[in-house]
């Protein structure tokens, strides 16, 4: 029973980690929070849903298309919401993406209706026994896909020119520009990568709970953000660790205390971390620039 809760927590945590990586990458290059990231995840989920139901594509193809679609949405968000506000005060882009998140959520509600959609499932619910705990096919899918994507991301970040550019911008944007890095291109690519991961998380979570609904991005986005803050806001491994911690803690709370507290846990963790150690587990200390 306990092991099963841990496994459920790990699956949920991997999802938070995938979304959280997007927050971390974007905060890394821009120092800004992308409030509509949860909605990008929701759009990814719906793209996957449509591909599976309307076009009868296999899951892997739907997943790839969702990643591509979400990456494109991320690219657009950067182009329309962040680029014009590059020199504006910090709150401007924050409020702007907050507005975008509200618009996307409600637009999705108008387009797809506010009810929960689910896939016509084949009733064969495959589950494996793992040291006495149930391990479902969807959980295995989540673990393999998210692990694969994280490894791929590490490869991009540390073994490619783009990754080098992303890390350079995260360290010092002006210096990177002086070294000939095309800032706008790299930031757009960062948004595409982060959003693609979010889109993948959307499809995975949709398959896991077999539920797709327009407001699914709000809570997931906030929780993934909590995970990122827990990990240190700019750190990719931090986001992964934070996501997994949050997923496990949440599931254990829901199982052993009360399911009503499931959502509360995340926010209490968020406020505690921000208050006690805003730099998170792996984060660099926040220094006030004079």
């Amino acid at each position: 029973m306990f092991l099963e809760q841990i496994l459920n927590g790990l699956a949920q945590g991997s999802i938070y980690a995938l979304i959280g990586i997007g927050f971390a990458l974007i905060f890394g290059v821009l120092g800004l929070v992308h409030f509509a990231h949860g909605e990008v995840y929701m759009i990814g989920a719906f793209i996957g849903f449509l591909m599976i139901t309307a076009f009868h594509l296999p899951v892997w193809a739907a997943l790839l298309l969702a990643i591509a679609g979400a990456a494109f949405v991320g690219f657009l968000v950067e182009l329309l919401n962040f680029r014009p506000l590059r020199k504006a005060p910090e709150y401007a882009s924050m409020i702007c993406t907050l507005g975008l998140s509200v618009v996307l959520q409600n637009a999705a509600m108008l387009i797809w209706g506010s009810d929960t959609k689910s896939l016509p499932l084949s009733s064969e619910n495959v589950a494996f026994s793992f040291f006495g705990a149930k391990l479902s096919m969807e959980q295995i899918l989540i673990f393999t896909v998210s692990l694969g994507l994280m490894v791929g991301l590490q490869y991009i970040l540390y073994c490619s020119k783009l990754g080098k550019a992303i890390r350079a911008i995260a360290q010092n944007r002006e210096a990177a520009a002086l070294m000939g890095v095309n800032i706008n291109q790299v930031i757009a690519a960062t948004f595409a990568i982060g959003s693609g991961l979010g889109g993948a998380a959307g499809v995975l979570v949709g398959l896991y709970y077999n539920a797709f609904y327009p407001t699914m991005g709000f809570m997931a986005g906030l929780k993934a953000f909590t995970a990122t803050v827990l990990g240190g806001l700019t750190s990719v491994p931090g986001a992964v660790l934070g996501g997994i911690i949050l997923g496990v803690v949440e599931n254990i709370t829901a199982a052993y205390i009360s399911s009503g507290f499931r959502d509360l846990v995340a926010f209490v963790i968020l406020i505690l971390v921000l208050f006690i150690r805003p730099s998170g587990i792996f984060g660099r200390g926040i220094q006030e620039k004079v």
């Binding site: 929070v33 919401n81 924050m94 509200v102 108008l110 959502d263 406020i271 921000l274």
Partner: protein, 347 residues
């Protein structure tokens, strides 16, 4: 007492120049005779709603507009006020006239609590903390079913009575919210130019500079949160008794966004701007009746477009450029360090 209120009145009137004075007088008369001009309950209901949002938005404006502290959980204070007042009256049979200030004070207390993190957190971090706070309050209202009945809400919140006369008429609520709006407006207008208001503006412009001028920035920020929240709590109490039914859904994230949109559309730190924003955004969904489902899209779109096109809002003054303290910028004298009036001897 008479003298004091008279001098207060003259001091307020002196601040308003002649042209504006007649404009305000006209507005006041229009507001006063509105119920006579239109007999419809609907118009009165919308006008009362406008009043509630004006009080809410003016409170938030003190925190976000003047002190520059982003708050994405404003509905929490509104909800705390509403539930405090409703529960006091329903469970403890307290009088509304006691519950109303109690609701304000309770919200102010939570404002103090939320103000404390502003010691260490800024900008994005603060925004997220306030968002988290808003969600925590909503989830507690939803899950503490023994006290709040959770999602079933609190029905049958009684109307106030005055010396045994039940005041449940729509006219009473209308004139009462008008009085509340006027009290809030006058308080804010007085606060903004006071020592507190100037200290808050100094903090917004440059916190480090304000601190080195001797302003106790933490204390002022916390006080701003408490005062703003007090008014949100009052609005909440009014709303609870006016609508006679509340549930946690009334105080969700969307409501925080709505109030923030009002402040931002009209222009942060412009009192007429905030009133304008609150009225327009309350009327808009009513005017576009068939487009009611677009309400939130409109709010979101307004937030986006305002930021992209006119970040200072419709009534906001010219946005001050970011001050750069590099020797070049200062030396060339291109950027005046402070455009706003700063307190001569603050803190």
């Amino acid at each position: 007492m008479m003298n004091m209120s008279k001098s207060l009145l003259t001091s307020i009137l002196r601040r308003i120049d002649e042209k504006e004075k007649s404009l305000y007088l006209l507005l006041l008369i229009a507001v006063a005779i509105l119920p006579l001009a239109s007999q419809s309950d609907y118009v009165l209901r919308i006008a009362t709603l406008c009043g509630i949002y004006i009080v809410l938005a003016l409170g938030l404006n003190l925190v976000t507009g003047y002190a520059g502290q982003m708050c994405l959980g404003w509905a929490a204070f509104y909800g705390i006020g509403a539930y405090t007042s409703a529960l006091l009256v329903m469970r403890l049979h307290a009088s509304f006239w006691l519950a109303l200030p109690a609701a304000g004070l309770m919200a102010a207390f939570f404002g103090l609590l939320l103000g404390i993190p502003t010691m260490r957190l800024k900008n994005t971090y603060l925004a997220i903390t306030t968002l988290g706070f808003g969600e925590i309050v909503r989830l507690i209202l939803l899950n503490w079913t023994d006290l709040t009945r959770g999602s079933m809400g609190l029905p049958g919140i009684p109307s106030p009575s005055f010396f045994g006369i039940d005041l449940d008429g729509k006219l009473f609520y209308y004139y009462f919210i008008v009085v509340l709006v006027i009290v809030t407006l006058v308080t804010m207008a007085r606060l903004v130019d006071s020592r507190l208001g100037r200290a808050l503006q100094a903090i917004r412009e440059d916190e480090l500079a304000a601190k080195s001028m001797g302003i106790d920035t933490t204390r002022y920020k916390i006080v701003a949160f408490a005062i703003g929240a007090f008014f949100a709590g009052i609005a909440g109490s009014f709303f609870a008794h006016y609508s006679a039914y509340i549930d946690p859904h009334n105080f969700a994230f969307g409501e925080s966004i709505a109030v923030l949109s009002m402040v931002i559309l009209g222009g942060m730190r412009s009192l007429p701007g905030v009133v304008f924003g609150a009225v327009v955004l309350t009327l808009l969904p009513e005017v576009l009746r068939e487009a009611a489902e677009y309400r939130m899209i409109v709010f979101g779109g307004i937030l986006m477009l305002t930021m992209l096109l006119r970040p200072q809002g419709i009534f906001g003054g010219v946005q001050r450029k970011k001050v750069s303290l590099t020797p070049e910028a200062v030396g060339q004298g291109k950027q005046p360090l402070y455009q706003n009036r700063l307190p001569e001897k603050a803190g």
